[in-house]
């Protein structure tokens, strides 16, 4: 069976692409890679464009290797990946919208991010001004007796991000859910071009508010890989501390939020208070509740002092005291379990095909965790378990979060105990050159950042949220459930809008 290494021999390897290789290949090899994806030998980590090139990041789970392959497309066409491997679909549609590159043979060529409002087409490629109004977006048709449609959004009834959901319903049962996103597209990747790594890092930290640490972390690692820079050990450990605090805060908030969507508000109140305790400790330790802009390329912008450590230890003690009781309450409340058990089932095959990251994948049998599988520092020196369940329902996604809360508590303890002393920042090379790729485990899964540094500024940066591969799975998981269970399913996935609209 071919491995990713063999693929590199088929093309021209790019110099200074770290830590995994990038190879420029021809369309025949591109087609071969696509077939490997379709046959599930490799998994797709991401697909992104440039004005005259497409790139694909691949993962070989047997050898835990990553490879990036690139195809030049001077005539603005490339062979569709999605035609054989559906997880690529939305990424491909975005490439078409942003760069004007056409995926030949694509099964769905409707626009995705482009709602006809920008005044230009292909804004990041050869931009063309548009003057005529765009035709309305054609939703997929669902036919059958008694099937009707319910349209929800982009402005929802709650305080959540904007997106449009088109439910086709028969009686109470959802026959099909079709998502339409792109409402919060801010052109972040375009804004990064020409920015120095420090300014670009601020943009990366604003891709998705709840994962600001994860993005800061992944972006910094990609810059450091590109410029072959070693980060001081203290910064490495503090980064992991921030990452685990972020995971903890988000999981606590989400568990409460899911229970609230099952009309069990008591747990929302309790978990909300625990989340608040974590955010306050983070503010004491790092000066910002969400720890935004704390991780910077080269290291970390802020050191922790004794008061910060004490605040975190105190928060951990409170959570350790209260969390088990709350979990017990969740587990003992039949009315709540009635809503979560066997609701919104995501089958393991689909989770594997879509490379579902985070708790979504791990609740459906996919044991991938970047912290373990790719073991970036300092995680290779830390003890933790990666919980995996098979059921794939709302309940399983809650339980994975519960287990991950316990793991994060232990990880934070270990980090505080072993925190090395020393400097916080390594200076970035002024005229940084090279390309770097990094994967970091955010709370909802693996965040991928790929970038190219030229003369010390960003020449191109691609940020891929785990939600790219989770949103379509939500469409699959909701099928056959009742409309009233949608909020519950949706919250248990908690996909990012801003992270994929970018």
């Amino acid at each position: 069976m071919p491995s990713l290494i063999d693929l590199n021999l088929e093309g021209q390897q790019v110099q200074r692409h770290r830590p995994w290789p990038r190879t420029v290949i021809d369309s025949a090899v591109w087609g071969f890679a696509t077939r490997q994806l379709a046959e599930r030998r490799w998994s797709l980590l991401s697909l992104w464009g440039e004005p005259a090139m497409v790139h694909m990041a691949l993962f070989d789970s047997r050898s835990a290797e990553i490879g990036v392959v690139s195809l030049e497309c001077p005539d603005k066409h490339f062979p569709s990946v999605a035609a054989h491997h559906p997880p690529a679909q939305r990424l491909e549609r975005s490439i078409q919208d942003l760069f004007g590159l056409v995926a030949d043979g694509a099964t769905d060529s409707r626009p995705w991010l482009d709602h006809g409002q920008w005044g230009v087409r292909a804004p990041q490629g050869e931009a063309v001004a548009i003057t005529a109004p765009e035709p309305p977006y054609p939703f997929l048709k669902v036919e059958g007796e008694g099937v009707h449609q319910a349209a929800v959004g982009p402005v929802h009834a709650g305080i959540i991000e904007p997106g449009h959901f088109r439910f086709s319903v028969s009686g109470e049962t959802v026959v099909r859910l079709e998502q339409r996103l792109g409402y919060v597209h801010k052109g972040t990747e375009a804004l990064m071009i020409g920015a120095d790594p420090i300014r670009a890092a601020r943009l990366a930290g604003r891709v998705s508010g709840d994962s600001t640490v994860a993005y800061g972390f992944a972006f910094a690692r990609a810059v450091e890989a590109a410029s072959d820079l070693a980060v001081p050990p203290r910064a490495v450990w503090l980064r992991a501390l921030c990452a685990e605090l972020e995971r903890l805060a988000n999981h606590l908030g989400d568990i409460g939020g899911i229970c609230n969507d099952a009309a069990f508000a008591l747990l929302l109140a309790h978990f909300g208070a625990l989340r608040e305790i974590v955010l306050r400790a983070a503010a004491t330790a790092f000066g910002h509740r969400l720890m935004r802009d704390v991780i910077v390329p080269g290291g970390i912008a802020r050191d922790i002092d004794d008061a910060g450590k004490a605040a975190i230890r105190a928060a951990l003690a409170t959570i350790r005291r209260q969390f088990p009781e709350l979990v017990e309450l969740y587990d003992d409340t039949a009315s709540l379990q009635d809503r979560t058990v066997s609701t919104g089932v995501l089958k393991p095959e689909l989770a594997a095909q879509y490379c579902a990251g985070g708790f979504v994948g791990r609740a459906s049998g996919r044991g991938f965790d970047t912290r373990r599988t790719l073991a970036y520092p300092p995680y290779q020196d830390l003890r933790f378990e990666v919980p995996v369940l098979q059921q794939g329902d709302v309940n399983a996604r809650i339980w994975i979060r519960i287990r991950e809360v316990e793991q994060s508590l232990s990880l934070i303890d270990q980090i505080l105990d072993q925190l090395p002393r020393g400097p916080l920042l390594a200076p970035l090379p002024v005229q940084g050159q090279g390309e770097g790729v990094a994967l970091v485990e955010g709370f909802r899964g693996d965040v991928l950042v790929w970038l190219r540094l030229r003369d010390g500024v960003i020449a191109r940066c691609h940020l891929r949220d785990p939600s790219w591969f989770q949103w379509p799975l939500l469409e699959a998981a909701i099928e056959g459930n009742i409309v009233a269970d949608f909020p519950l399913c949706n919250k248990s996935f908690n996909c990012s809008y801003s992270g994929v609209d970018l």
């Binding site: 109140a269 989340r275 009781e325």
Partner: protein, 179 residues
């Protein structure tokens, strides 16, 4: 569950004292508050929140307002599901071009008198997204803004302070000299 509820009876409440208002915030408010509004509102605010392009960081802190520590409902501040029930539109994010129309339509659905509060650094002028082809600008590029609460994201206490200032202003109405 009974055990938990029972315990909560004896535990000290988590809520904290209300923040004091900074004059600057009160003064930043517009003066379009008449007697009719005062009668209608009676020291309560119904808020419809709209994410017009946020990174969701601002939303996280708005959510925190409802946790037991801040518990905004005790001040008569409620988040409502429909713009038809709202007095205030609380808008976050740089307004993306893809959200402009939805924001406008939501604003039009709010019955007058109404106020617009822009929340977060992005909502002021687009923040670090301001030069993008996909961004229309801050909230005031699309709607008349009465109050801006700065921060990225503003912590819950700052949001609360801003909203209380608005409530204060509405309650006092035109009696107070405009800032």
């Amino acid at each position: 569950m009974r055990k938990l509820l029972f315990k909560s009876l004896f535990r000290a409440p988590l809520s904290e004292a209300a923040p004091t208002l900074a004059d600057a915030e009160v003064q930043e408010l517009a003066t379009r508050v008449g007697g009719a509004a005062r009668r209608r509102l009676g020291r309560s605010l119904a808020i419809r929140e709209v994410d017009a392009g946020s990174c969701n960081g601002c939303e996280l802190e708005i959510h925190a307002l409802s946790n037991p520590y801040y518990d905004v409902e005790r001040f008569g501040i409620r988040f409502v599901a429909s713009p038809r029930h709202a007095d205030v539109l609380l808008v976050t994010g740089p307004v993306t071009k893809n959200m402009r129309e939805a924001l406008l339509r939501t604003y039009e659905a709010v019955p007058g008198p109404k106020w617009v509060v822009a929340l977060g650094d992005c909502a002021l002028d687009g923040g670090c997204f301001k030069d993008s082809y996909a961004v229309a600008g801050g909230v005031s590029a699309v709607l008349p803004v009465d109050l801006h609460i700065p921060g990225c994201p503003p912590p819950p206490l700052d949001i609360l302070r801003g909203l209380l200032a608005l409530l204060d202003r509405v309650a006092v109405g035109t009696a107070r000299a405009p800032g």
